[in-house]
């Protein structure tokens, strides 16, 4: 170990520094002794200091500046490239080697009483490395470091490492990777977990018919904890605060505050302690302390009262510790796997936090890094895992419910299909029954009635009687015509009265011709009568056949007029069908034949209006139908 003392041309008020150089390796020097001139409130004190110099511990609650002078000798030839590695210095600094300014970051106090430079950008967060050409190195060297230190921002100077670049740069690189690159990875991880949890929370619709119908608060607490922790850890990467002092400091305290509180609340969500009075009070306490954080930090930072913030830290940390210890006791006693995983993560974090508190509050090591930022990843992983497992369980539950729903819908569909099929079968059966009834009635009123009439006619007189023979022939012809009309009616389009009349004429026309009855056809193209279905068409056909048959058999007419027109009556269109003959006439009120009564029955059945007027020389059968 060597010590050297050098005077250099520096401002007189800063004085001179005596430096002890401690070679840590053959070629690498770790400089841990310096002569410092410390200036606070315009008063400067010169003294020998041992590095690291921790400003906040040496000058609690005060801001100011210091100049460190370090002399060191180099034992051998000093060509090549050299490097100076500063694990921590700041908050702002300037660095000279042998009177040459090598690097400066941030604003320094230029004149006494200038306080505007304090609490600006903080350049003490990351390790520094300065490349020095071997030409600048001498056998005896003087290093001067001037710092500006803010209140409570970990200003100061760590031991300085000097040596050949090949030896020193890896030391710096390792420190940088550990403190900065590692922090970037932690921030990225926290953002991923936080945003995933936030997405799960925003898309969570709850599980119907279960104890939890709303969103799961666990997802929310995990999201908030991770995002705020990302802000807290990410601060190391931000040299220039995004908000003016002390607000940026308040933001950092809030980030730490919300992270701790959210973690505790997330753990509570995993327990069944919600109804426990003790836990309820603890929860209220945590929430109160969380709310107090902004005020406490603002007061402490703006008024230079670090004790206020320290008190809050103690109260908050103590409350959280009580809860976490209770959680650990519960988890390792008789809890489920989720709680045990979280408890293990919490235990690791407590240990790490205690280590960090010791290192930062009691230990002399000034340039050390916090471990909590890395150990918190374990907590993030554990909570993320629990949140994902819970989401999977919820999704599975929902899938199960949807599956049940689909099964029920499918069962209902099948039941509905079966009901429809049964109804269809019933409808077909009804249709068949109705059709059978219609055919039976036709057989009874038509063919059956005519054949029985023919038999009576044959029985009533001798078959050789020409008059009887003609009568029987006429009756049988009627029967056959009705049979043909019944067959034709199968193809009749429902409601098409024009086609029905045309077909009647076609079937009976030859008989009118044979009896020398002149036929006048006056049928328009009639609209479709929507109320006439197949059965009604059949009824109408029989009514008209009866009317024609009466003319053929009884009227002794010379002319027959058939009319089919559409007439507007009372604002509605109606189809009028008239059968008019010039025969001998009959008395419609007496009902001399069964046929007239049947016609009336059929008209009523299909909702048609039937009018029969008769006098010698003109008989009219008129049927009115709705369109």
């Amino acid at each position: 170990m060597r010590s050297q003392s050098h005077r250099r041309g520096v401002p007189a008020w800063l004085g001179l520094g005596l430096v002890w150089a401690v070679p840590s390796a053959a070629a690498v020097l770790t400089l841990s002794q310096a002569r410092a001139v410390v200036t606070v409130d315009g008063k400067s004190i010169s003294k020998e200091v041992q590095l690291p110099y921790h400003w906040d511990r040496a000058n609690p609650g005060q801001q100011g500046g210091a100049v460190f002078d370090i002399d060191f000798d180099l034992p051998q030839a000093h060509g090549g490239v050299w490097g100076i590695y500063l694990p921590r210095l700041g908050n702002a600094y300037e660095l000279w080697l042998n009177g040459v300014k090598l690097q400066a970051h941030g604003e320094m106090v230029q004149q006494q009483g200038d306080t505007s430079v304090y609490n600006g950008a903080d350049f003490g967060r990351v390790p520094r490395y300065i490349t020095v050409d071997g030409g600048h190195m001498q056998s005896s060297n003087h290093l001067r470091i001037h710092i500006r230190a803010d209140v409570g921002r970990r200003g100061g100077l760590a031991p300085v490492v000097i040596g050949p670049q090949t030896e020193v740069f890896p030391l710096y690189e390792r420190d940088y990777r550990w403190r900065v690159t590692g922090s970037v990875a932690v921030v990225a991880f926290c953002f991923v977990v936080g945003l995933t949890a936030l997405a799960l929370w925003t898309t969570d619709a709850g599980v119907p018919d279960s104890t939890r119908s709303g969103r799961d608060p666990l997802f929310f607490f995990v999201a908030v904890a991770q995002l705020f922790w990302a802000v807290y850890v990410g601060d190391v990467l931000v040299e220039a605060p995004l908000l003016p002092w002390p607000w940026w400091g308040v933001v950092q305290v809030i980030a730490l505050d919300v992270w701790g509180g959210s973690m505790a609340l997330a753990c509570m969500e995993l327990t069944d302690w919600q109804s426990n009075t003790w836990v309820v009070r603890l929860r209220q306490g945590i929430l109160w302390l969380m709310v107090m954080a902004p005020a406490a930090s603002l007061w402490a930072l703006s008024q230079g009262q670090p004790l206020v913030l320290t008190s809050w830290y103690v109260a908050y940390g103590g409350t959280l510790l009580v809860f976490i210890l209770g959680f650990l006791w519960r988890a390792f006693g008789h809890a489920n796997a989720e709680q045990r995983i979280l408890a293990a993560a919490a235990l690791v974090n407590i240990v790490v936090a205690l280590r960090d508190i010791y290192v930062f509050r009691f230990d002399a090591s000034y340039g050390a890094n916090t471990w909590l930022r890395y150990s918190s990843v374990l907590f993030g992983l554990a909570l993320g895992h629990v949140a994902l497992m819970r989401f999977r369980a919820t999704s599975a539950q929902l899938r199960g419910l949807l599956g049940t729903l689909a099964t029920r819908v499918s069962e209902k569909e099948i039941a509905l299909g079966e009901t429809y099929a049964r109804l269809e079968v019933l409808a077909r059966q009804q249709e068949r029954t109705a059709e059978r009834g219609r055919i039976l009635r036709n057989m009874h009123d038509g063919v059956g009635s005519h054949i029985s009439s023919a038999m009576r006619q044959l029985q009533g007189s001798g078959s050789s009687d020409p008059a009887t023979r003609d009568e029987v022939l006429l009756t049988l012809r009627d029967a056959l015509d009705q049979l043909k009309l019944s067959i034709d009616s199968i193809h009749l389009v429902p409601g098409d009265v024009t086609a029905l009349l045309a077909n009647l004429r076609y079937r009976l026309g030859p008989r009118f011709m044979a009896m020398d009855i002149e036929l006048h056809w006056d049928v328009d193209l009639l609209p479709v009568c929507k109320n006439l279905d197949a059965g009604a068409m059949n009824e109408l056909q029989f009514m008209l056949f009866e009317a024609f048959s009466n003319v053929l058999q009884h009227a002794r007419a010379h002319a027959l007029r058939v009319e089919g027109h559409v007439i507007r009556l009372d604002g509605a269109e109606r189809v009028f069908v008239r059968v008019v003959d010039d025969g001998c006439g009959f008395d419609p009120s007496i009902g001399q034949r069964k046929g007239l009564a049947t016609m009336r029955e059929r008209a009523t059945a299909i909702g048609a209006q039937l009018r029969i007027r008769s006098e010698p020389g003109q008989s009219t059968v008129e049927i009115q139908l709705d369109v």
């Binding site: 049979l483 043909k484 067959i487 193809h491």
Partner: protein, 240 residues
């Protein structure tokens, strides 16, 4: 004198029709048989000697439609009348499509039977309103489907037949006449309404019967080709 062949499996009915034909001096009964086989044999041996075929559809060894088609193939001049109990439209339409020109009811008077045959040979062709309606509906659907049928026809290289199908669709006058028949008007009344002669109306209907027969054949051939039952090169010959 027209030479008549009767095909009817009911012996009483066959005898009645034979007697009815025999009563007319303008008709000569060539033979009266009871089966499809016998009827086909008649056409195979003396195809050109038969002018009129009176045929029942329900025969013991097959359908009368088969005999009608066979007769039309062997002797296109031979005209067929179907013997029908009811003259129902399904059977009548199938007969017309097979090549028949009308039908005679089984309950017709003997004089009416000869009269119907002679009217047919004189150019008459009766059609019922129900059949007219069915034909109108059939042709309307064909008019709608002709463009697509045309495309199909092109793809299987039978363009000439598709053109024949287009030509055979109803003329406006034929359509008008059919619509009036479907409304129940007689030929004479239609002739009055449209200032035509009854003979012209009959000609229209006879032409219509021919178209129905052509369409029936074409549909069968097209369907058979689509199903791969007929090679495409034979299509043109078959459709003619």
């Amino acid at each position: 004198m027209w030479r008549v062949l009767i095909v009817e499996d009911d012996s009483q009915m066959r005898a009645f029709f034979a007697a009815s034909v025999g009563r007319s001096p303008e008709l000569l009964l060539v033979s009266s048989v009871a089966t499809v086989a016998e009827a086909k044999a008649q056409f195979n041996s003396a195809a050109h000697g038969i002018d009129v075929l009176l045929i029942d559809l329900g025969l013991p060894d097959g359908s009368g439609l088969e005999v009608i088609r066979h007769a039309r193939q062997r002797n296109p001049a031979c005209e067929a009348l179907v013997i029908s109990m009811f003259g129902d439209e399904d059977n009548v339409l199938a007969s017309i499509e097979a090549g028949a020109l009308g039908y005679i009811h089984k309950d017709a008077a003997p004089d009416d039977i000869a009269k119907t045959i002679l009217e047919m040979k004189g150019g008459a062709s009766p059609i019922s309103p129900m059949i007219a309606r069915r034909v109108l509906s059939k042709y309307r659907s064909m008019q709608v489907s002709v463009p697509s049928a045309h495309i199909v026809a092109e793809s299987i290289a039978i363009k000439s037949d598709a053109l024949a199908a287009e030509k055979s669709i109803l003329s406006p006058r034929e359509q008008e006449v059919l619509e009036l028949i479907a409304r129940g008007f007689s030929y004479a009344e239609i002739a009055d309404l449209k200032n035509l002669s009854v003979h012209t109306i009959q000609t229209h209907i006879k032409s219509l019967y021919g178209k129905l027969e052509v369409h029936s054949k074409m549909e069968a051939v097209l369907e058979a080709t689509r199903m791969g039952l007929l090679p495409q090169q034979r299509l043109t010959e078959s459709a003619r």
